[in-house]
């Protein structure tokens, strides 16, 4: 499929038929999703109805908007009225959202056509999509490997060309890490740039919704559509956001810092090699790249424990509402306590239960000061250290994930090994900073080549600069290698709109 802006322009001009575009996407999903399992639910009838609506708008001479006719996939933790909202959990099996999230409202208002609900780690807790209660998603580059997570379904759907644009959520790396592992561009906006209204809460002080797309220009368009103040989310900041589409794309003179902590020995050698090559490309286009020694982010090594305490504490409270009383399935017991224990004990998966227990412990009387409050104090230090770097640099750069996509099952036995997937993304989330992952080459190993992602991190509320720099990098880089496996055999591109 072509790029998002081209599709929208074609639909707005009447050159492309939104119904045909939806059919094309649905056909690709029908052809390939049995193998990939990017989607938890595909409502073809709803997608067709929506596409017809957009077509009717065009025919009536009305402008459907900046995403006119663009088929989009939405992670199954972002509410779209009438659609499933399972968070890949059995505790929400069969649940349909009675209202739409701010992001879904914005997408519909700009003409997008939602085609399906993407797979994820249960309640976004995981980095491989293996924690989905409904089975994992597979990486299109190598179906024996994970797509990353938790937005693995969204990343794989874009990578396989099933949709041109998808939306995910990030708490500790859940957009950028699967984007990196699947070879697509994923953007995590500044905390508070995009409304969380309608995003099922995991770690409320960290959660952000963002796009996954073929490139940074598409991500910028998607960001422009979804970002903005929402009175229903008191943590969004007021006022408008500078357009990322309109931001100047220039690498010359850009001050890029590369913290030593981003590229230490724990990072895979191939990943380091591709990252260094990307940094050299930036330099060759006039960016002033400074490779910093270790010590500028002295508390970054505490990010994983701090992240897991803060996010799990908030999650332990956020997930209390799933009690089987008002919605979702209930495992009935004889008494109230037994009903709670059975519902929550059997319908939450093991990783979700682990984090609820961890968070409950960290908030308990007598432990609050030692764990939760201390974690908040370290979080503040990490933010301050980042802010100090932004007094010297416009952007920070480094690899997104310490390693490329790993084999299904390789890390499931050891939770901590899985948690290390967030090593380079979690600190950025703790600081609430905008950050993008862009494909920067392939890691060569014994098996299939695997994508590597370069992450660029900006100062708070500098989302448009981060996306513009990513777009400039992509222009310098040229077309990246695409995963072609699932592009063959799909129907021809959508025809004219008449």
């Amino acid at each position: 499929m072509s790029r998002v802006a081209d599709i929208a322009a074609g639909v707005r001009a009447g050159r492309l038929d939104p119904v045909a575009l939806a059919e094309e996407s649905l056909a690709r999903i029908a052809a390939h999703d049995g193998r990939l399992h990017c989607f938890l639910d595909v409502d073809a009838a709803a997608a067709r109805r929506r596409a017809e609506e957009v077509r009717a708008q065009v025919r009536a001479g009305r402008d459907p908007g900046r995403l006119a006719g663009v088929p989009v996939a939405i992670k199954d933790n972002i509410a779209l009225q009438g659609a499933t909202l399972t968070c890949a959990s059995r505790i929400l099996q069969g649940y349909r959202a009675p209202y739409s999230s701010h992001v879904a409202e914005r997408l519909l208002a700009e003409g997008a056509v939602p085609v399906g609900r993407t797979n994820m780690d249960e309640f976004a807790m995981g980095a491989s999509t293996e924690n989905s209660a409904f089975g994992p998603t597979r990486n299109p580059w190598d179906t024996a490997r994970v797509p990353g997570g938790s937005s693995g379904g969204s990343a794989a759907a874009v990578a396989a060309g099933l949709v041109p644009l998808a939306f995910g959520s990030e708490t500790g790396g859940s957009i950028r890490q699967p984007a990196a592992l699947c070879g697509v561009t994923g953007f995590k906006p500044t905390y508070g740039a995009v409304s969380r209204f309608g995003l099922v809460a995991f770690g409320s002080s960290l959660d952000v919704i963002g796009p996954l797309a073929a490139d940074a220009a598409d991500a910028a368009l998607a960001y422009d559509v979804i970002a903005g103040h929402d009175p229903r989310d008191a943590t969004t900041w007021p006022g408008s956001r500078p357009s990322a589409v309109a931001a100047e794309r220039r690498l010359a003179g850009l001050r890029v810092g590369v913290p030593g902590e981003f590229l230490d020995d724990s990072v895979d050698a191939e990943v380091r090699a591709r990252t260094h090559a990307a940094l050299e490309l930036l330099e060759s286009r006039g960016a002033r790249v400074t490779r910093l020694p270790l010590g500028r982010l002295p508390h970054m090594d505490l990010s994983i424990p701090v992240y897991y305490i803060v996010a799990s504490s908030e999650a332990s409270s956020n997930l209390a509402r799933f009690d089987g009383v008002r919605y979702g399935p209930r495992a009935q017991g004889v008494e109230l306590l037994e009903t709670y224990l059975r519902t929550r004990g059997t319908l939450f998966g093991p990783e979700v239960r682990r984090r609820i227990l961890l968070g409950t412990f960290a908030l308990s009387a007598g432990y609050l000061d030692a764990w939760y409050k201390k974690a908040l104090a370290v979080r503040r230090l990490i933010l301050d250290e980042f802010l100090a770097l932004f007094r010297e640099f416009d952007l920070l750069a480094g690899p997104t994930s310490p390693f490329p996509a790993f084999a299904l099952g390789a890390r499931t036995a050891d939770p901590y090994a899985m948690y290390l997937c967030d090593l380079l993304t979690a600190p950025v989330c703790l600081a609430g900073l905008p950050s993008v992952s862009v494909p920067c080459g392939l890691a060569r190993g014994p098996g299939a080549p695997l994508p590597v992602g370069l992450q660029l991190v900006g100062a708070p509320a500098q989302d448009q600069r981060v996306l513009a720099a990513a777009a400039a990098f992509e222009e310098a880089r040229g077309e990246p290698e695409r995963c072609e496996t699932f592009r063959a055999g799909a129907p021809a591109a959508a025809g004219g709109a008449r």
Partner: protein, 490 residues
Amino acid sequence: MSATATRWEPVIGLEVHVQLATRSKLFCRCEARFGAQPNTLVCPVCTAQPGTLPVLNAQALRLGVLAGLALGCEIAPRTKFDRKNYFYPDLPKGYQISQYDRPLCRGGALDFEAPDGASGRVTRHVRLVRAHLEEDSGKIVHPAGMDLSLVDLNRAGVPLLEIVSQPELRSPEEASAYLAALRRTLRFAGVSECDMEKGSFRCDANVSLRPTGSSTLGTRCEIKNLNSFRFVAQALAAEMQRQAAILDAGGRIVQSTLAFDPQRGRTAPVRTKEEANDYRYFPEPDLPEFDVDPAWVEELRRTLAGRDPAQRRQRYVALGVAAQHADALLEEPERAEYFEAALDAAPGVPAATVAGAVLVDALRLANERRIALPELAVTPARLGELLALAAGGALSVQAMRTVIVAMESRPGEPARAVAEALDLLQVSDAGQLERVVAEVLAREADMVARYRAGKTGLFNALLGSVMKASGGKANPATVRELLARTLDAG
């Protein structure tokens, strides 16, 4: 008094939950109304659908600040919300959004009169610890004869202010008086209806005993959900007896939460400290800390000026209203407001007269029609007009009472017009009355002669004749004066 009752003295503190009189709930736009069909005042936010977020109701914050100011509290310049975590089917989110370590209001006090001894009264000054905003839970209903429980979430998310007193109350009677004073202050500040029957004023009581005269504190127990003033006093008395019996027997009080059974007049434990919840309070991440603008607080403070019932009482008494009438006027804010508006509309009429008319005539009218004072067609302005008419001598007291009843069924019509229509206006015009007096005296020449000869007792008979001749419409005071002048001149 028993020996036990004098050996131990109670230390009582009260926690009162007051429902703030907002139209909508604390964190969503659902109506905060009592008495609707179950689960009809709900939305995705207050039923805790996944993905929903709270948005603070500015009106609730405003009423919270007003309440704090009315109670003399210090308003926090910066405050925040916290989550109180526990599981119960009436708590949709699995946590209550409340305020933990930075309440909206701190300090403050309540001054009130309480019974002292057998018949005396004493003025008490009880300090407050704090007052904070929080959301109400839903309600669990156990339908009779069915083996299930139902949850009604209409109340879930309704704004409450929890007001915590220092443990400075010294008897159940004082506790009752404190509650009455608190209720009155809040109602006059316009922040809550404080209607116990509708659950908008609920009380938990903490009580411990200590040896009389001691300054140590004993182990306290908390009695939950006392929903009438009478039950508060009864429950405290029962709990004091229970604790005294244990202490007298050399026992030890176990810190616990109790419920009061009004039928048996007894308190019974619900749970002990060992079973107490760990609420895992932490800052609500969905609602950032916020500043409370001091200029706005001062503006609110100004709107409260003159509304305090104690200040109003002083003012009424200074205007000549009897103390007991002042108290009666201050039983209900609407009564006091009606009185003050009528007073404004009746220049020159003594405040005591206006008070009497409100307490006797207006209230009787409202009671007979089973409506509230503000709903009367006889508005304070019309009552004031009527009273001014009467004070000018145009109406007798009896006629005034007839007119006010008629006015109620003739909304909008001026008092004078109603009195005229009923032909009840008194004649006070001296020229007109002089003619009547002259006529009567001419007719009763015999009586006049006897009067002038010293039979002064005939004055009243002559007065009666003049009144009769005027058809009862003459102003008796004017007639008396004219008659005296004419007779004594002759």
